[in-house]
């Protein structure tokens, strides 16, 4: 049996989060491409992979000074490397998140909620999507809501990630009203929204970065 240790949601965590995003999104590249092929233009997996690879290249220049700095680095890089709808939306999300993180050296539960809320609000401000429009907002909105309860940062992240996963799954029956999938009208129903799914991966990556699995041997 193994155990887990939870690390503080500090600058090092933020860097690990971004690297974990890059790892997961590279892994899920084809899956996200296929989701986007079904109701969009088949580039979402490539866009996210390209963006986060660039983030990692930036991180390799040295560790971030703060959570806010890491998030801002992600924001600027995604903005200039992703393009498409996802670039400005995730770019704005990380930028607003960075501002919300402020000069905190680590995030507790309420801080996690504040950061995620800022991110979601940024996406809504840019993209004007409402819940139910079958966009990434449908993953962010339940995530923000779920993050409100826990006092502990990691628990807030865990709740957010699970809610985002459920939210992403719940986009399946919806008819898209924003983004490229909206052109399909009723034919968009029956498919997951790629941006909602990538959001769920990004939030799950935040949890993974916070939690190290320790094998039974290690804790013996």
């Amino acid at each position: 049996m193994g155990g887990v240790t939870v690390t503080a949601l500090d600058a090092a965590w933020a860097d690990r989060w971004l690297r974990e995003c890059a790892r997961v999104l590279a892994d899920r590249r084809e899956e996200l491409i296929d989701l986007d092929r079904a109701i969009g233009d088949g580039d979402h997996g490539e866009n996210m992979d390209r963006g986060f690879r660039a983030v990692v290249a930036k991180l390799d220049e040295g560790p971030s000074e703060s959570v806010a700095a890491a998030l801002k680095l992600a924001a600027m890089t995604l903005m200039s490397k992703v393009g498409g709808a996802a670039g400005p939306l995730y770019g704005t999300a990380f930028l607003r998140a960075s501002v919300a993180a402020g000069d905190r050296d680590k995030l507790d539960g309420p801080a996690v909620e504040a950061v995620l809320t800022a991110a979601r609000d940024g996406i809504v401000a840019r993209g004007k999507a409402e819940p139910g429009d079958k966009t990434m907002v449908d993953a962010w909105t339940p995530a923000v809501k779920a993050a409100a309860a826990p006092a502990d940062g990691e628990a807030a992240l865990e709740a957010a990630a699970s809610a985002a996963e459920a939210g992403a799954q719940a986009t399946k029956p919806l008819t898209a009203r924003k983004g490229r999938a909206s052109y399909l009208g009723a034919r968009s129903a029956g498919h997951l929204d790629p941006g909602a799914v990538s959001t769920s991966y990004i939030l799950r990556a935040a949890v993974t970065a916070a939690v190290s699995e320790i094998s039974a041997g290690d804790v013996a």
């Binding site: 296929d34 233009d41 580039d43």
Partner: protein, 333 residues
């Protein structure tokens, strides 16, 4: 996937490099970030014209950089809008002191990236106006969508606004004429076969033998409707009718008729579609004064076409006829 490429990730850069070499007399390709300008840069005392969008629609947009059309073009990854850090320097390079018009196809990604870029430009002191092109009538219900897409009509906006800028019109006037083209141009397309995005490696959608997609966009998106293959005359009517209805044409009006290939369709087939579309227009008493037939706004190697109609008036016609000297559109000079 069978393509004349090297690394799928290098497609846009290598293609632009070839483009720059082949047309070094007309254009200059800039790297890091990537954008294309007219050879010689901004024309002082002329309104600048910049467009851009995902790659894969060649010759749109870089093929339309040159005298009488665009001052700069900003290519994104395949089917992915470019980013603000590309659009900013392209806009600065296009500014001849009178400001710049951004011609943007109405897609969420393009709109958001050009929006951010316009803010950056403003903060750098460039007066930017944005004209959204949304000619695709296949997207019917714009209340419940991201709004109509910009497709092949974009070429007409770029040509006509380019001519207005070239003859020395003000920023307001160039913006106004571009918007007038947008208000009077409509398109609709279909696909016989999908395209394959290099980095995806798989066709953008599946079509059975004998099936076609009506109302496709230019990004390999599936269309609104899947129907059985029909004769070209029937298909031409399927495309033209909604275009005509949306524009509300009346007998006696004059139009430009464009039949645009999606990249993998022979010119001979485009002329067969043109033939029927022209007949239908003339049956309604609409007079086709100008035409354009060919691969002007493509979707990689997609097989299919779109039909575009632009309502003309004397000014638009004379701006259309004005000299243009770009890699992909050239006359009068």
């Amino acid at each position: 996937m069978k393509k004349l490429i090297n690394d799928p990730r290098a497609v846009v850069d290598e293609s632009l490099e070839g483009f720059g070499l082949a047309h070094a007399d007309l254009v200059e390709v800039h790297w890091d970030p990537v954008y294309v300008t007219r050879r010689g840069g901004a024309v002082q005392g002329k309104v600048g014209l910049v467009s851009g969008g995902g790659s894969g629609h060649e010759p749109l947009h870089a093929g339309y950089v040159g005298q009488g059309m665009l001052d700069a073009a900003v290519p994104g990854a395949v089917f992915t809008s470019p980013t603000p850090d590309q659009i900013l320097p392209a806009t600065q390079a296009a500014d001849g002191g009178l400001g710049v018009v951004h011609i943007v196809k109405n897609y969420t990604g393009d709109v958001l990236n050009f929006e951010t870029a316009a803010e950056l430009c403003a903060s750098e002191g460039v007066d930017v106006r944005t004209v959204l092109v949304n000619d695709d009538v296949a997207v019917e219900d714009s209340l419940y969508t991201a709004g109509r897409r910009g497709v092949a009509g974009t070429v007409l906006v770029e040509k006509i606004a380019g001519a207005a800028a070239e003859r020395g019109e003000s920023l307001d006037a160039v913006e106004a004429v571009a918007k007038r083209v947008v208000a009077n141009v409509r398109s609709m397309g279909l696909a016989l076969a999908p395209c394959t995005v290099p980095h995806a490696g798989k066709p953008s959608f599946e079509l059975a033998d004998g099936e076609i997609e009506i109302g496709i966009g230019i990004h390999g998106e599936p269309g609104r409707q899947r129907v059985g293959l029909e004769p070209a005359d029937v298909l031409a009517e399927r495309l033209l009718t909604p275009v005509m209805e949306d524009l509300g044409f009346e007998a006696g009006e004059e139009v430009l008729l464009m039949v645009n290939g999606m990249g993998g369709t022979p010119l001979s087939e485009l002329y067969i579609v043109y033939r029927r579309a022209a007949q239908l227009l003339s049956d309604r008493g609409v007079s086709v004064e100008r035409s354009l037939v060919g691969n002007y706004t493509t979707s990689l190697e997609m097989q299919g076409c779109s039909v575009t109609v632009l309502r003309l008036d004397d000014e638009l016609t004379s701006l259309w006829d004005a000299p243009v000297k770009t890699p992909a559109l050239r006359w009068g000079v």
